[in-house]
């Protein structure tokens, strides 16, 4: 045990420890009873639940652990809940998918748990090294997951592309981090902030801002660092795509906020401008590219790029309210995006791939339940009341207007209008187009039903009663801001 680590430190990483232990158990079980999918799913979900419970043990705390490498605060807790929930939903929707594709459940769940572990460290890390290791843990798991459909060339292509470009962008990110270290002599976010406060920022730091921005921009698929996303999203197994577009994105946003808001408040004006440009490029290109897609997964990939653009608004605004709105939007996005992907997963049957837009033709007549749920998710993604997506956008754009970024809000609203075209096109296909190749009937197994139920519940409840989410988000944003505020005082 390294010097300076106490038993308390291990208590504070209990959620992560549980996750690690659970992952190991799953891997062992996969060897012992490789065919018992239900057991593996149960153990994996149990691990997630245990982790969620242990995260809630620390509610209200705001401390650092492990010699200042990790923070245990509401911000971390919020993101941990988000990634754990998205991991859970992903596993639930994976169960039928793995069966249809004939994949090995054990390794799959193990990798999902590993990726989740990485994300948790990205949420709580307050040191560049911790954050980087969290990011790597997540990324390596995803490289494998993206190529999990081994006989499928597209899946292989996705894995290779993601790996190569991921390595490249990590290089860029590390370069930026090393510049920061070189300029300040520390990797602690708090230390960096202290070292940078009170002096005019050097060009080295600005260069580091751009490089770290690019590296994180790659992870959240911000234009022009997004090129990998459509190919990888389309090629990867659908539940993995879902997890990639929600869990990975959320964790990366957590890391991005940690680095920029906590470590680099001294150059806030510089990175705010950078993200302004990134936000506008990302939402505009994402939405316009989505217009002409005929593949549902690819369309959702571009839609997810566009949503990263909306989310960046919160970073640009950079105030407590801006960050809180962004967290609300992330919470909302989790349900609607995973819900939409769950429908795409449900469309995959032994005889139908089901990820083309035309596969949805006449879905309303074949499976009204699926069609209605998809309608709800599409309306929410498009931001139509009374769904959660509407509430999220109201706050996010409202925060932008409030902070004086009126043009950004105008562009975002115009983008939302554009996005309605392709979201409603899905609805048109489901209701008005002639029936697609019927294939075997759509059946929702118990796991899928639970996943869709949660997604629908979130999309509806937060649309009607958003206060619940808002309070959590505000508390989370508060701890982040509070941290930087105390730094500024020193």
């Amino acid at each position: 045990m390294p010097a300076g680590f106490s038993a308390l430190d291990f208590y504070y990483i209990l959620p992560e420890l549980l996750l690690t232990g659970g992952a190991m158990v799953v891997l062992l079980l996969a060897v012992l009873t490789p065919r018992n999918d239900n057991l593996l799913l149960g153990v994996s979900l149990g691990t997630l639940v245990a982790s969620v419970l242990s995260v809630s043990l620390f509610s209200g705390l705001d401390v650092t652990a492990a010699r200042g490498l990790l923070a245990v605060d509401s911000f971390a807790a919020f993101f941990k809940f988000i990634v754990l929930l998205s991991a859970g939903l992903t596993m639930l929707m994976s169960a039928p998918y793995l069966r249809v594709e004939g994949l090995k459940a054990g390794e799959y769940y193990f990798l999902i748990l590993c990726a989740t572990l990485g994300m948790m460290f990205m949420a709580s890390g307050v040191d560049l090294i911790t954050l980087f290791i969290g990011l790597e843990t997540m990324a390596v798991s995803f490289y494998i997951l993206a190529g999990f459909l081994k006989p499928n060339p597209r899946s292989n292509e996705a894995a290779v592309k993601y790996f190569l470009l991921g390595a490249f962008s990590l290089g860029v990110l590390l370069y930026g981090m090393s510049l920061v270290y070189g300029a300040t002599g520390t990797t602690s976010l708090q230390g960096i902030a202290v070292a940078l406060s009170g002096q005019s920022p050097s060009m080295v730091i600005v260069l580091a801002v751009v490089l770290i921005g690019a590296g994180m921009g790659f992870k959240i698929a911000a234009v022009p660092f997004h090129m990998w996303a459509p190919d990888v999203y389309e090629g990867a197994p659908t539940p993995v795509t879902a997890f990639l577009s929600v869990g990975s994105k959320a964790a990366s946003f957590a890391m991005l906020l940690r680095i920029f808001v906590e470590a680099l408040p001294a150059v806030a004006a510089d990175w705010s401008a950078l993200f302004w440009v990134l936000a506008v490029l990302t939402m505009t290109l994402g939405n316009i590219a989505a217009l002409t897609q005929s593949n549902l997964k690819r369309m959702l990939a571009y839609s997810s790029i566009a949503h990263a653009g909306y989310l960046l608004i919160g970073v640009v605004v950079g105030t407590e309210r801006g960050v809180a709105s962004m967290l609300v939007y992330l919470g909302v996005y989790l349900f609607m995006q995973l819900g939409a992907f769950a429908i795409v997963v449900a469309m995959r049957r032994s005889d139908v791939v089901g990820d083309e837009l035309k596969d949805l033709g006449g879905l309303f007549r074949r499976s009204p339940a699926a069609a209605f749920m998809m309608l709800l998710f599409m309306l929410s993604l498009g931001g139509i009341p009374p769904t959660a997506g509407f509430m999220g956008k109201v706050w996010l754009f409202g925060a932008a207007v409030d902070a004086g970024f009126v043009w950004l809000a105008v562009i975002a609203v115009a983008n939302s209008a554009v996005s309605l075209y392709y979201y409603l096109r899905v609805v048109v296909f489901m209701w008005m187009h002639e029936d697609a190749q019927p294939g075997s009937p759509l059946v929702f197994g118990p796991a899928m039903t639970v996943a869709l139920g949660i997604a629908i519940l979130g999309t509806v409840v937060f649309g009607i009663y958003p206060q619940l989410l808002f309070e959590q988000a505000q508390a989370a944003a508060g701890t982040l801001e509070g941290f930087s505020a105390t730094v500024a005082l020193r």
């Binding site: 060339p153 470009l165 490089l211 660092f225 401008a273 440009v277 409030d402 009663y465 206060q467």
Partner: protein
């Protein structure tokens, strides 16, 4: 008292249980029990809440259940305000009275319906109770809501339930049409209401009734001009006009009689249609600051009262008479609020709820007895067959005619008195209406219960005959079962006695209800309730008594005229109708208002829609097609260029690559490097941006 949120919730739970499980699984008895039990519990809670309210000094209690809409910054007249809406309920005298009416009469009507709807098949029966419970849920939300928005949830909800229940027998074309008509006409009113709420928020920065009243009480009364408060009140009144069926939006209510009779009694007489009156009363402070709008309210009310009464004179469908009577009485209530007598309006709302629910349920009992016959020409002499129904309806008719000491007398007289003080012309209209009311109501009683039986014959058959063949054989008019007559009796007691809470000072009473309700109509910080009262002009008790005697005489004259025409010298009425055939036909056809709306609003909309469609097809599509042609032409040019210039270069590479799959080609030709280049390009572009910003200085 913190439990008042349970009052709306209970029927809501009943509706949810019956709606989710009942329609599929429950028996009729179980569904009816759930519905009645939830309403009964709500009634008990309302009683407890009301008693506790009497013990409160401030006569007000607000329960905030949850923060519904968290603060959203929005533009208001005084800078950015936070649009924040709690899910809160307010119990004060006005809403206290309303919840008693809704749960009390609602409970009786639930009981009545268990017998009245018995002929329905199981699924329809359960569906009916589900809707009925749902209605009570929304109605109680409406009256208890402490902000415009919560009220609006109830407001729209009762509209929805009204639509569902009017069209309950949806296989009947007329019923589903009537449902749609009610819904669409109400949309016009709701549009006004919503705009009013927008303007309220913009002006005051809040949508809480109490805060709005506070803020408004500090604003000047808009005596001379038409200011923002007047605009708000006018818009809100448009909403009230739709919901409470006033000119010009009253047309949906008579058609709403297509619904089952208990629905007409509950929704289209006692509760929902009074929501408009309630809403105006709820915003009394606002309206008092807009005298011009008050005049509009009073005038619309008086004219509606008169017009509906004249139509009621000649209708022969028993429910249509009652429907027009309801429109007319609602006009009275608006007349009262329009002359500033909010308490009198609310008082009449309460007594009207009793006697009109009674009359409707009585007519339902008659219709039940006559095997779904609604035409009074085919009735007559029914008092010999159904004594209880006759006596209770007779009490209801006396009450509405304004004969002392029945309830209608006190409330109507208060309105007439206050109108007299404010505007003699409107008073004249109201008195004429009172006479007509007495006439058509006793015409209804006489045509239905007196004289000879004019209905179809029936077979007196022995038991074990061929009754089974038809499943349901009519055995002639008969008294309704106890479950229907008991609510009638309870309501009859109410119709008789409800007025005693408002005996005016001139008759030695204390007008208790007015003093009780007063806190609901003033802002708390305003001068004491009594002072506003003193500002109102007074007549001597002698003059007041004379007015009272006059209106009673008018009512009695109406009754005796009806007796003369329909009992003593039967046939006289038909001769009269023949002599005045033009007037009679106009009234019979309800002034041709529906036809006029059909010819103007509906045909106009259709015509303009067709016109726009033509424009769309000819002009817009033409432009689009033109643009499309242009694009095709351009693309042809580009295609030619492409084919001979660009392709020449590309073809060599392209031809080789065509052999491999599209996917394969993408990986092999190394697009991934392009991706990396794009990333690098982005990095360099941003660095350049900063360099330029820093050293050139943008």
């Amino acid at each position: 008292m913190d439990f008042i949120w349970l009052i709306p919730l209970l029927p809501g739970v009943g509706a949810a249980i019956n709606g989710l499980l009942g329609i599929r699984y429950f028996s009729k008895v179980l569904a009816a029990r759930i519905a009645c039990a939830t309403m009964g519990a709500a009634l008990l809670l309302s009683l407890v809440a009301f008693l506790e309210l009497l013990g409160l000094e401030h006569r007000e209690h607000v329960v905030t259940l949850a923060h519904w809409i968290p603060p959203i910054p929005l533009e208001t007249a005084s800078g950015i305000g936070a649009f924040e809406v709690p899910w809160a309920f307010r119990l004060d005298p006005l809403s206290g009275m309303m919840i008693l009416i809704v749960t009390g009469i609602g409970f009786l009507i639930h009981l009545y319906s268990t017998a009245y709807m018995d002929h329905e098949p199981r699924g329809g029966y359960v569906r009916f109770f589900c809707y009925l419970n749902l209605f009570c849920f929304f109605m109680l939300t409406l009256v208890l809501g402490s902000t415009f928005l919560v009220m609006f949830v109830g407001w729209e909800g009762v509209g929805l339930c009204s639509y569902l229940l009017i069209g309950f027998w949806y296989h009947k074309q007329s019923a589903s049409d009537a449902g749609k008509k009610a819904f669409i006409v109400n949309r016009i009113g709701d549009f006004g209401f919503v705009l009013g709420v927008f303007l309220v928020f913009y002006t005051f920065g809040t949508v809480d009734f109490r805060e709005v009243a506070e803020a408004a009480s500090h604003m000047p009364v808009e005596v001379a001009g038409f200011g923002v408060v007047s605009a708000i009140c006018l818009l809100l009144f448009v909403g009230a006009v739709g919901k409470s069926a006033q000119i010009p939006l009253y047309v949906w209510l008579p058609d709403a009689m297509e619904g089952p009779t208990p629905v007409s009694a509950l929704i289209h007489a006692a509760t929902m249609v009074t929501a408009g009156v309630y809403m105006v009363g709820r915003n009394a402070v606002l309206f008092e600051h807009a005298p011009m709008v008050m005049t509009v309210v009073a005038t619309v009310g008086a004219l509606t009262a008169l017009m509906a009464a004249t139509i009621g004179l000649v209708q022969t469908d028993i429910k249509k008479v009652l429907a027009y009577s309801t429109v007319s009485q609602l006009g009275y209530m608006f007349l009262a609020t329009g002359v500033g007598a909010f308490a009198a309006g609310a008082f009449h709302l309460m007594t009207h709820a009793f006697f009109k629910a009674l009359l409707f349920l009585g007519s339902g009992s008659v219709i039940h007895a006559m095997d779904e016959e609604q035409d009074m020409k085919k009735m007559g002499g029914l008092k010999y067959y159904m004594g209880t129904t006759f006596i209770t309806m007779f009490i209801g008719a006396i009450a509405i005619a304004g004969v002392p000491p029945f309830s209608g007398f006190f409330s109507k007289d208060e309105i007439l008195y206050r109108t007299f003080l404010s505007n003699k012309w409107l008073w004249g209209l109201a008195v004429v209406t009172a006479g007509m009311t007495a006439f058509y109501m006793f015409r209804l009683i006489f045509m239905t219960f007196f004289g000879d039986y004019r209905g179809p014959g029936w077979k007196h058959e022995e038991h074990g005959g061929h009754a089974e063949e038809h499943g349901h054989t009519w055995h002639g008019p008969h008294e309704s079962p106890r479950l229907m007559t008991v609510p009638l009796m309870v309501l009859a007691v109410g119709a008789f006695a409800a007025g005693f809470v408002g005996v005016p000072a001139a008759l030695g009473g204390g007008n208790a209800i007015e003093h009780f309700l007063e806190p609901s109509f003033v802002a708390t910080s305003a001068s004491h309730a009594g002072e506003a009262e003193h500002a109102v002009a007074h007549l001597s008790h002698g003059a007041e008594l004379a007015l009272m005697a006059f209106s009673v005489l008018v009512g009695l004259a109406g009754i005796s005229l009806a007796y003369h025409l329909y009992v003593r010298r039967r046939g006289q009425a038909d001769r009269l109708a023949a002599n005045w055939s033009v007037a009679h036909r106009v009234l019979l056809n309800k002034y041709y208002v529906d036809e006029a709306y059909g010819a103007t609003a509906i045909d106009g909309t259709m015509a303009s829609a067709r016109g726009l469609w033509t424009v769309d097809r000819r002009v817009v599509d033409g432009a689009v097609n033109g643009a499309g042609w242009l694009t095709r032409a351009l693309s042809w040019v580009s295609h030619v260029l492409d084919k001979y210039v660009v392709d020449g270069l590309v073809n060599l590479v392209g031809w080789i690559c065509q052999e491999g799959s599209y996917l394969f080609r993408r990986v092999q030709t190394g697009l991934i490097q392009n991706y990396a280049v794009a990333t690098l390009f982005g990095v360099f572009a941003f660095i350049t941006m900063y360099l330029v910003a820093r050293y050139v200085g943008v």
